[in-house]
């Protein structure tokens, strides 16, 4: 019996051990999945050119630095476009030298009201000249000349604070005009060769000569200076004449970018309504009133219908206290009365110490800003339809989604300044992760309209701030 069993059991052992080994081999590998190959569809990403303002340029935390530029929406997009060819992205940007750039904001924490506090640092600023405008509205203002990036137009032609009203202004980027108040843009200056009088539109014409694809993101540049000065700066007032010019010029810009609708590209719109930006939205009457007693009346300085600046209670809608005002709001301040006596009153809670005009964008001013952005956006939507271009911002409104909170792979992004990981510390430009979320919305539309297949970014892999860590 035993002699029978032995050969059998060794055979069984052989079978069993080989079965075990093959099982382990099988279990050792994961079931395969093949990702779809990236494809350009009807688009051609081989030479991509970006046209616009702060967002595409990579402006973040109130500044433009070598570190923030590498996370610009334009650069992030191109990095994904490059997956189609399989070659690394060769997208050229007007990069600052490593570790340098403009001044930018640093976080200082949150006050008792949950208001984000920031301070500005000029640690990495390298300027080769400056002009101080002592009488600028909203106080002394310095314009710096930064180091020129290159003598060739880069693919990223986005210029922070570019105004549509000025795209045909000759000399906007010529150093000789540094002292021309409100008519000089230092970011265009460092994009162009020295002493170049070309307008932005001409630069775009030249820069898009061989382009196969464009990205256009404009709209805030015209209104940002006005918003940031609480509507005090009349030179940047988006009045009806200016708004009409914005409408005309945005068409000129898109026609150049898109070669009159013949070149594929993507358009991204500025936030509309503009109060989706935390810069304004965090200072709405509902939020501000919640910081004090319900019985407290909030007073602001604002022009009345006749244009005379008066002190009045904060309006129920569309008066927005800016971050500078919120940082001081409700704090006891020593105020000198007309009769020379001094009293301590809380900022914004007394007729004697209202929110200063520079700290509030009142409903009239807000109406103008919103009208400007709406006009630009409507014109772009009309043209996108005409040229059959993908557009982000009308049907898909990322700012609105963020306003209501979104989750990306389980990570929640909100409009909360300093915490929500979407908006940077200046409360209107985006963090690298915010840029990736915006770029993803653009890529989705590109994929849909052109039948392309470009992989999206994983925003959670990007840093939460563009500041060098």
């Amino acid at each position: 019996m035993f002699s029978v069993r032995l050969p059998f059991s060794s055979a069984a052992a052989r079978v069993a051990s080989s079965a075990l080994l093959s099982t382990l081999a099988l279990a050792g590998c994961s079931p395969e999945q093949t990702p779809p190959a990236p494809a350009a569809g009807k688009a051609d990403f081989s030479r991509h050119v970006a046209i616009g303002d702060n967002y595409l340029a990579g402006f973040s935390d109130g500044g433009l630095t070598a570190s923030s530029q590498q996370y610009s929406i334009a650069a992030l997009l191109d990095q994904q476009f490059a997956l189609v060819s399989g070659q690394p992205s060769t997208f050229t940007q007007p990069l600052f030298a490593p570790g340098t750039g403009t001044s930018f904001l640093l976080p200082r924490g949150f006050d008792a009201n949950g208001v984000l506090l920031t301070s500005r640092t000029a640690a990495g600023r390298v300027a080769r000249g400056s002009f101080i405008n002592a009488n600028a509205c909203g106080g002394r203002d310095t314009t710096f000349l930064y180091l020129r990036a290159t003598n060739q137009l880069p693919q990223n032609l986005a210029v922070p604070f570019l105004r549509l009203t000025q795209i045909e202004l000759a000399g906007l980027g010529n150093e000789a005009n540094l002292q021309r108040i409100d008519q000089f843009n230092p970011f265009l200056e460092r994009l162009l060769p020295a002493a170049d009088n070309r307008t932005y539109l001409q630069a775009v014409t030249d820069g898009t000569a061989n382009a196969t694809f464009f990205t256009l993101f404009v709209g805030l540049g015209d209104v940002l200076p006005y918003i940031l000065s609480g509507g005090e700066c009349t030179t940047s007032n988006p009045n009806s004449a200016a708004i009409a010019l914005m409408k005309t010029n945005v068409k000129k810009l898109l026609d150049k970018a898109s070669d009159n609708g013949r070149r594929p590209g993507v358009i991204s719109l500025a936030p509309q309504p503009v109060n989706q930006l935390p810069l304004l939205g965090r200072g709405s009457v509902v939020r501000v009133q919640a910081m004090v007693n319900a019985t407290d009346t909030i007073y602001v300085q604002a022009p009345n219908a006749a244009g005379v600046v008066v002190v009045r209670p904060m309006a129920a809608s569309n008066d927005y206290i800016l971050p500078t005002g919120l940082a001081q709001f409700g704090k006891p301040q020593l105020v000198t009365l007309p009769n020379g006596s001094q009293v301590t009153v809380r900022y914004g809670l007394s007729k004697r110490n209202p929110i200063k005009r520079v700290d509030v964008l009142d409903s009239g001013e807000y109406g103008r800003v919103n009208q400007a952005v709406t006009t630009i956006n409507e014109e772009l939507v009309r043209l996108a339809k005409l040229y059959k271009l993908p557009i982000v911002g009308s049907d898909i409104n990322v700012y609105d989604q963020i306003f209501k909170n979104i989750a990306v792979n389980g990570v929640v992004y909100t409009a909360e300044p300093g915490k929500g990981n979407f908006y940077s510390l200046d409360q209107y430009s985006l963090t690298p992760r915010g840029n990736a979320i915006m770029a993803n919305a653009m890529l989705r539309e590109i994929n849909r309209v052109y039948g392309a297949s470009v992989p999206l970014l994983d925003p959670n892999t990007l840093p939460t701030t563009a500041r060098q860590q």
């Binding site: 779809p36 989750a407 792979n409």
Partner: protein, 411 residues
């Protein structure tokens, strides 16, 4: 602990006790070889667990059966948006079984079943796309079931057992809202609970037998679990305490099974099982974190569906020394499309199994089996606007390998 803590999606993932389909394979080498068809299959002591009624129909000897099980799930993930690939790590889930049966009288038999019917061990790479949803999720259970059966007559018998179950589970995920990749939260806890098991076994002819069994749900009460957070930035230390108490319940489903076995020829037996697992009882999961009375509770919807399983197995008596087995199974998943998560991305599984018993002597045999199951491709869709759902969009492809090796001995 405030509600703020909860609103951050922290608890929206969970012990995926909820994620269904985490049965760790048929609970013996013989049953595994039969593809899990076991309700009317009397030649295996695992009947004590699968149909206590069958216990009284076994022959008059005292028997024991014991062995080890290993369950390996391999899942690959392809991100819908990013097209990034990720694979779960090779992580066998160890299990085992011990069954003993002894007839006390002609009519009454008693038995003991100790096995590990539920469990999973899912480990994704720490830096994968869904790290904020889950990095590691693990559960082990041990079921102890003393059982008694009564033979009503030559053809029919009934049996019942009391189930005492213990379980241990843990889950870890990253908080990717921070730049530091090492910020993680971990839940861990263990609990126990009771249930019962009852079954009926009958023979309608010499060659045809059938069984019906019902297994009650078991709820493991996790009273002293712990949630720990590591490397939280100082500014947010208040939001994520380094350590807090965790309470939850882990619901293990009940099941109703019917089966039949037919001795087709002298050498060949075919068994068939149909099982309905009552997952739908579990509509949601609740978690409480912190110290009473300030304990915050969160309820997460799961909405499982009842799931059916069909299993067919054949046993062929090759010789006095060798018995061969083969089986086919189809296991429905209880998880609806909208609740597919990376904790345990289950799918409808089609399986095939092979097994053998080598009879070393009249009383001793070595049993071995292997089962391979392929789960249908599952796709999780994520709507960004739905901030309360912590999930990652992609497709999952899962293969499950189960091996078992054991001994059966009769006195």
């Amino acid at each position: 602990m405030t509600l703020r803590y909860l609103s951050l999606g922290l608890l929206l993932v969970s012990f995926s006790a909820g994620a269904g389909g985490f049965q760790a394979g048929p609970q013996s080498a013989r049953t595994l070889g039969m593809g899990g068809a076991s309700v009317a299959y009397i030649r295996d002591l695992a009947s004590i667990y699968y149909n206590p009624g069958a216990l009284a129909q076994m022959d008059s000897s005292t028997r024991i059966s014991l062995g080890g099980l290993a369950n390996v799930r391999r899942t690959s993930f392809l991100g819908t948006d990013s097209r990034h690939l990720a694979d779960t790590e090779f992580q066998p889930l160890p299990g085992g079984y011990f069954y003993a049966a002894k007839p006390l009288t002609d009519k009454i038999s008693v038995g003991l079943s100790v096995n590990t019917p539920f469990g999973y061990d899912t480990r994704w790479p720490d830096s994968w796309e869904g790290r904020n949803v889950v990095q590691q999720a693990r559960m082990n259970t041990l079921f102890v079931q003393p059982t008694a059966a009564y033979k009503i007559n030559e053809n029919f018998s009934v049996g019942a057992g009391l189930v005492y179950a213990v379980g241990r589970m843990s889950q870890q995920f990253a908080l990717s809202q921070y730049d530091d990749r090492n910020v993680t939260v971990r839940y861990a806890g263990s609990g126990s609970g009771f249930g019962f098991n009852a079954g009926l076994y009958g023979k309608t002819a010499e060659t045809l037998s059938f069984g019906i069994s019902y297994r009650s749900p078991v709820t493991l009460n996790v009273k002293n679990g712990e949630t720990t957070a590591a490397n939280i930035p100082a500014a947010d230390a208040g939001r994520y305490p380094t350590s807090a108490r965790l309470r939850t319940e882990v619901n293990l489903p009940g099941a109703l099974s019917v089966g039949m076995a037919n001795q087709v020829s002298k050498k060949l037996l075919i068994a068939f099982d149909f099982t309905l697992t009552a997952w739908s009882r579990f509509d949601s999961l609740s978690y409480s974190i912190g110290e009473a009375p300030a304990m915050a509770t969160q309820t997460v919807g799961r909405r499982y569906e009842d799931a059916m399983a069909f299993r067919v197995g054949g046993e062929y008596a090759h010789s006095r020394l060798l018995t061969l087995r083969a089986g086919v199974s189809y296991d429905e998943t209880p998880i609806r499309d909208e609740f597919i998560t990376p904790e345990l991305p289950d799918g409808n599984k089609l399986g095939g199994s092979l097994g053998l018993s080598a009879h070393l002597s009249e009383s001793l045999s070595v049993d071995a089996a292997y089962q391979f199951e392929a789960a249908a491709l599952r796709t999780s869709r994520v709507v960004q606007a739905n901030e309360d759902v912590s999930n990652v969009g992609g497709t999952y492809r899962t293969h499950v390998h189960t091996v078992s090796l054991g001994l059966s001995y009769s006195f």
